[in-house]
């Protein structure tokens, strides 16, 4: 079975910039082959998952405010089903890390990540969380969250605009839509 | 037949959870098992067609008393901790009490077993009739005991408030 283009409602596939990671991922999946029944079921499951990503906000600094702006009236990310922000990591599907991560916080973010229930995703928002940003030379700043927990989507900016956060979240949806739940042999 | 099947299911539930309730070493689990016993008893009432008693059993025991029980247990220190086994003297005393209780129950059951037929044949009492019986002043009507109990409860509440205020 051939994999179709990943469909995100209202946005053509071409509108997403080149995403080598996803393209490689598609190739990998195509190489392994997909069972027809499992493939269809997977599509349904992924449709459900990708449209119901409940975020856990890990807001440490400025980016948190832009996240709030994304959630509020003007940008309104409830349109895509992200609306149910959960404060308990157990109930969240993705963690949005907004802001710098420092030494003292590192054990805690790891702990919160471990507390989340599978399937879990991490979206990293802002330069500081991606790489340490302007504070990379500091004695107390962790140079990038991916040194501690795995990251699915990076949203660059300082702080990123709500539009770019939404774009990043849609990239995550695209990724989720390609996942294999039943067809995966390792599971 | 359906009634018998349900009865046996309920009976097994009651028996199992009664034993669990007294043998469990964690007080909060005991309370939960007791709750199951009370619910299953309510089921028995329903089986007999005593709707009113069924609802009262759930409202008063399961919903009221048990909630207060659990609430009170939560307020105490460390409700999840295992209770230490008591001294042998106490265990013997408890054993004697249990045997005594069993004998008492057996006695009641023995003397009433012949009358089961006529008791079951009685239909559910309507709430209206129940109300009249409770608040009536005639023969076999119980206004006075009812009021006495309400005054007793009032006294209890006042006493509880006094104790609480002292702290």
């Amino acid at each position: 079975m051939e994999l179709k283009n990943v469909k995100i409602k209202g946005i053509a596939n071409e509108d997403f910039n080149d995403n080598e990671y996803l393209e490689d991922y598609i190739k990998q999946i195509e190489a392994s082959g997909v069972n027809l029944v499992f493939g269809k079921l997977d599509e349904l499951i992924n449709w459900g998952r990708s449209n119901s990503l409940w975020p856990l906000i890990y807001a440490t600094s400025c980016c948190g405010i832009e996240f709030m702006a994304t959630a509020a009236a003007h940008n309104d990310f409830s349109r895509f089903g992200y609306e149910v922000t959960r404060n308990s990591p157990r109930q969240a599907d993705m963690m949005i890390v907004c802001g710098t991560l420092v030494h003292k916080m590192a054990p805690l973010i790891k702990r919160v990540y471990d507390q989340m229930a599978e399937p879990k995703y991490v979206v990293v928002m802002g330069a500081c969380a991606i790489s340490g940003g302007p504070f990379i030379n500091s004695y107390h700043v962790v140079p990038g969250i991916d040194t501690i927990i795995p990251v699915d989507v990076y949203v660059p900016g300082c702080p990123p605009r709500p539009e770019s956060l939404l774009y990043g979240l849609m990239q995550l949806q695209r990724k989720v839509k390609l996942e294999k739940f039943l067809g995966n042999k390792q599971r | 037949m359906a009634q018998q099947v349900i009865f046996f299911i309920l009976a097994i539930i009651i028996a199992t959870f009664s034993i669990l309730a007294v043998t469990s070493k964690q007080i909060i689990r005991s309370a939960t098992y007791l709750l199951f016993v009370l619910l299953a008893t309510a089921g028995l009432y329903l089986l007999l067609g005593y709707n009113y008693l069924f609802a009262v059993q759930i409202a008063v025991y399961a919903g009221g008393v048990m909630v207060l029980f659990i609430f009170a247990i939560l307020l105490t220190n460390r409700p999840g901790e295992n209770i230490k086994t008591e001294l042998p003297v106490r265990r013997i005393a408890a054993g004697i009490t249990v045997i005594g209780g069993l004998a008492f129950c057996a006695h009641i059951i023995y003397w009433n077993i012949k009358r089961v037929g006529e008791l079951v044949s009685q239909a559910d009492i309507s709430p209206v009739k129940l109300g009249h019986t409770m608040l009536g002043t005639g023969k076999y009507e119980y206004l006075l005991p009812f009021e006495v109990i309400s005054i007793l409860l009032l006294a209890c509440i006042v006493g509880a408030i006094m104790i609480a205020r002292k702290r």
Binding site: G10, A73, D76, Q115 | I28, Y52, A62, V67, L74, S126
Partner: protein, 372 residues
Amino acid sequence: MILNYSQPLELDGVSKALDTSLSALPDFWRILIECVLVGVVILTTYAVIALILIYAERKITAFFQARYGPNRVGKWGLLQSVADTIKILLKEIIRINNVDRFLFFAAPFFMVCASVMTFGAIAFGKGLLAVDFNIGVLYVTAVSSLGIIGVLLAGWSSNNKYSMIGAMRSGAQFVSYELSAGFALMTIVVLTGTMQFSEMIEKQQYCWNIFNGHISSMIAFVIYIISGHAETNRGPFDLPEAESELTAGYHTEYSGIQFGFYYLAEYLNMFIIAGIATTVFLGGYMPIQVHGWEGFNQVMNYIPSYVWFFSKTGVLIFLSLWVRWSFPRLRIDQLLALEWKYLLPINLVNIVVMVILVLTGLTLTDLFPSLF
């Protein structure tokens, strides 16, 4: 008389047809099949209503907050809660160390069982009533009180301080407000003289209880709505899961479908409160009927009874959401003060007033027997 006219859209014909077709079978099998069918129908309705309510709440909330709400999944986002369900069903259920596993897993079932049992007693339409006890009102108050045990056990067995505080708050709140809710319903029992829902609804054909007992009924209605809100932990009374204080309150440690149960039960409890209020105060599934206006009554009767029920309930749910999204949260002492200092005394006086109204014949049906 008018009710005897044929009403093509009513569903009670279905149940009658089922009855006749099954009558050939022996009793045991007939009861078994009927029980199973009714159970399946109730559970399905339960789930479907929950899905609709979740979607409705999101859309209505968005409307209050100058937003759009879900609009990407399906037309106008209609499939949003379906997507959520698929997701939550497949979410990992975390096994947590150092908790009492038995109680931890049992707690959500208490919550759901209690709300399903109450749900079963609601009269959705003519003939669409699964359990019709002669003590219906008492049954509803009794069974709905079981849900709180789920909350208390969840809070304790999670081994989490936030959960514990949430559970304690919830316990105090529930025990208090159950009194008011019960008394408010009792006021109407005094008025109608019955505890059976079907009978209560039939009696409201021309005059809803809320009008029949005028002052007293109105007060009871308002009190019931307030305490119903409080019982379901919603609106300004959502202290047990006060997000800004206790992260997620008593269900902080629950994930996957266990959390789903709490989520579901919360919405269903809201529906149940609205449904009971409709049944008791607003005439349940009875259409609007006016004594003597035969034509009007006939037209109203053509609208099926379940549509009447759901639209009345819908109005109450909208009201509930409106309140929820307008008010800040109460503090625990304000909450208890509201109940013990205001609602309960008012309620007690109200019952006496209602008794006087009924005994002295001051209810609307007694005053204007020709109109109602």
